[in-house]
Symmetry: C2
Subunit: 352 residues, 2 copies
DNA sequence: ACATGGATGGAAACCGGTTCCCGAAACGGA
DNA sequence: TCCGTTTCGGGAACCGGTTTCCATCCATGT
């Protein structure tokens, strides 16, 4: 029994295979590698040994030797959110299509944790790390993210921001956004066109760029019609279902006057919808409701939710494609994906 | 300019750090490692060099040297499904809590792809690979999965099955299931207790074990009351929203006679619900409806869906805990998690 | 028959780390 | 002052692969 026995659980090494085939390790490597000329006799012997031992080359060792495909990292807040899940799906699909493995990490919104994870990815020599989900656009955010980008770039990796605030010019970063303001503008314009004049906006956190963009669209749509929205109709919460529920309940209790409500996300809309139902209100009979994101569930709400479609899955695919398909000379990219409103049953014309 | 310049993008190695600090690579390793005694003077010099170069040790090299925490792999059908997402979340959370990275792969239900991925994970020397989601319990499935389990085990890794058919005895596998039959039994018993006698079952694929379990529960609940369900009320599709929609529409069109419907998953229930609404039927006024899984959205359907709660997230956590916290002597485990029905508004007593 | 060259395959260096094994310096006690 | 311990740090081997370089061997061409 030698030190490295071939049996007994121990994963076999290339030298074990070599010994069994009666050749050197280099030869085994060459047979497996493919390119180098090897006589068919030795090739069969080696392949047989490989099969006998059920040998698989250690991917980490290959990586250290500079061969093998690097992995991709994907960081999000919470995989449980439907739009995040959609993006994750796109990322994962495209990554495996391109032959890359995909590491995932959820931060629960903890910035510290995000930073830690990026550091780990740098240690892993990940091909790219994709950060998704909006964030507060503070000076501190920019500085921190800039640091991440630089440190990743200096390690030969790349930072990709999905739906996140752009950094200043010169940051080694790829940014892919979807048009929050444009989508919200179109959606609210549609609501206004139905005759609504007092439309409640269930927004997100005040400093969150995604929330800001959608809010800007809400405002702009009003102004485009020469309307000035009542500031009392602009509510702030977060992007969760519970936030929508709470906000809507509060608005109802406070006797706010409105005929339509536009939620910053479909999740918020879902919460708002059940609050409306709980209050005995009919949608869209008594009040119209619209969401944003077009998550798969939107059409199973009752009534089916009018919302803005965001190509989340495509976004994920695009993120990995642009991240992976670049050379050092590729200029930093900044893509903006379009959105469109999908009209279903939750918005109706006012009776007046 | 030496061959390995410290500047210019090239990730710096431990030898670069050593050179800059004027010590040997071993010393740098020791400073970073922590345990070995190092004079505070050299320690500071090394740390300074590390900071200057923004050095991070290559995790893959460490892995090859036998240190560093191995990663965990997670394989599912489609991260977009709410219950899968919940499990994924649990897995990811527990893995990072334990300091492990987490690779993810979705198979789109393709067995071939699943096999490929497991092979890759073996090459990665993953600590464990967690396979989730039901499957057809065929002889071919068992043989194939058994092979995966053995090959993983022989590589020092471990296969964990989550909500999947058990393999025969002796397979090096950890199985964690949730009680499909028990949950369905309780749910259907509740529906029957409300006076319903003709309850439609919207099931999954006939050979899918999860679907089978839930169907068995449906049958058993009837028999426990001395009832024999009408075979015409047992419909088969898959676990998607569209399947529920299609099945329900078909049942309505065919004039099937029933006062309640139990769907095999909440997604199916969601599709069925909108089909019901489209037909102008009231839930639960005209017909009662129940789902299974208790996905977050269940309570935002209208009416809020009565369903069976499955501890998916806990399941994910448990999977990584049992997979990671084992020694070679640990016996193969087989855990069965309990479920409970959560009563909301979609099931009501019959008028009769 | 002999130089020539392509086909094969082994030895050794390398990738970027860790750790064992030792020697030298510093320190303490007699 | 001298010797025995620590304390500290360097050299080299190792982890499991790949690849360069070189030595054969065999089949040609003349």
């Amino acid at each position: 029994m030698t030190r490295k026995s071939e049996d007994a659980g121990g994963r076999s090494t290339i030298r074990d295979v070599a010994a069994r085939a009666g050749v050197s390790a280099s030869t085994v490597s060459r047979v497996l590698g493919g390119e180098y000329p090897v006589s068919s006799a030795t090739r069969t012997r080696v392949m047989r040994a490989v099969r006998d031992l059920d040998y698989v080359a250690d991917a980490r060792a290959k990586a250290v030797a500079g061969v093998g495909t690097p992995t991709l990292a994907f960081v999000l807040e919470d995989i449980t959110g439907p739009s995040f899940a959609l993006m994750a799906h796109g990322v994962e699909r495209e990554a495996t299509r391109l032959g890359h493995l995909c590491l995932v990490c959820s931060t629960e919104g903890d910035v510290e944790h995000e930073l830690e994870f990026v550091e780990m990815m740098r240690a892993q020599r990940a091909a790219a790390v994709i950060l998704v989900g909006g964030a507060a656009d503070t000076a501190e955010y920019r500085a921190r993210t800039r640091r991440m980008a630089d440190s990743l770039a200096s390690a030969g990796s790349r930072l990709v921001l999905c739906g996140r605030p752009t950094l200043g010019p010169g940051a080694p970063v790829t940014v892919i956004e979807y048009d929050n303001e444009g989508g919200a503008f179109a959606l609210v314009a549609h609501v206004l066109a139905q005759g609504h004049r007092r439309v409640l906006f269930l927004g997100g956190k005040a400093d969150h760029t995604t929330a800001q963009g959608r809010e800007r669209g809400y405002l702009a749509a009003h102004r485009a019609r020469g309307l000035e929205p009542d500031p009392a109709l602009l509510l702030h919460g977060d992007f969760t279902r519970d936030s929508g529920h709470r906000l809507m309940r509060g608005a109802l209790k406070n006797g706010l006057d409105f005929t339509a409500v536009v939620a910053a996300t479909d999740m918020v809309a879902a919460g708002a919808l059940t609050a409306l139902h709980e209050a005995g209100l009919e949608v869209p009979g008594d009040v119209s409701l619209a969401g944003y994101d077009d998550i798969p569930f939107a059409r199973d709400l009752h009534p089916a939710l009018t919302t803005v479609h965001v190509p989340y899955e495509e976004l994920g695919r695009l993120a990995v494609r642009t991240a992976l398909g670049r050379t050092p000379e590729t200029p930093d990219e900044h893509l903006l994906l379009g959105t469109h409103v999908v009209m279903r049953d939750s918005v109706a014309a006012t009776g007046s």
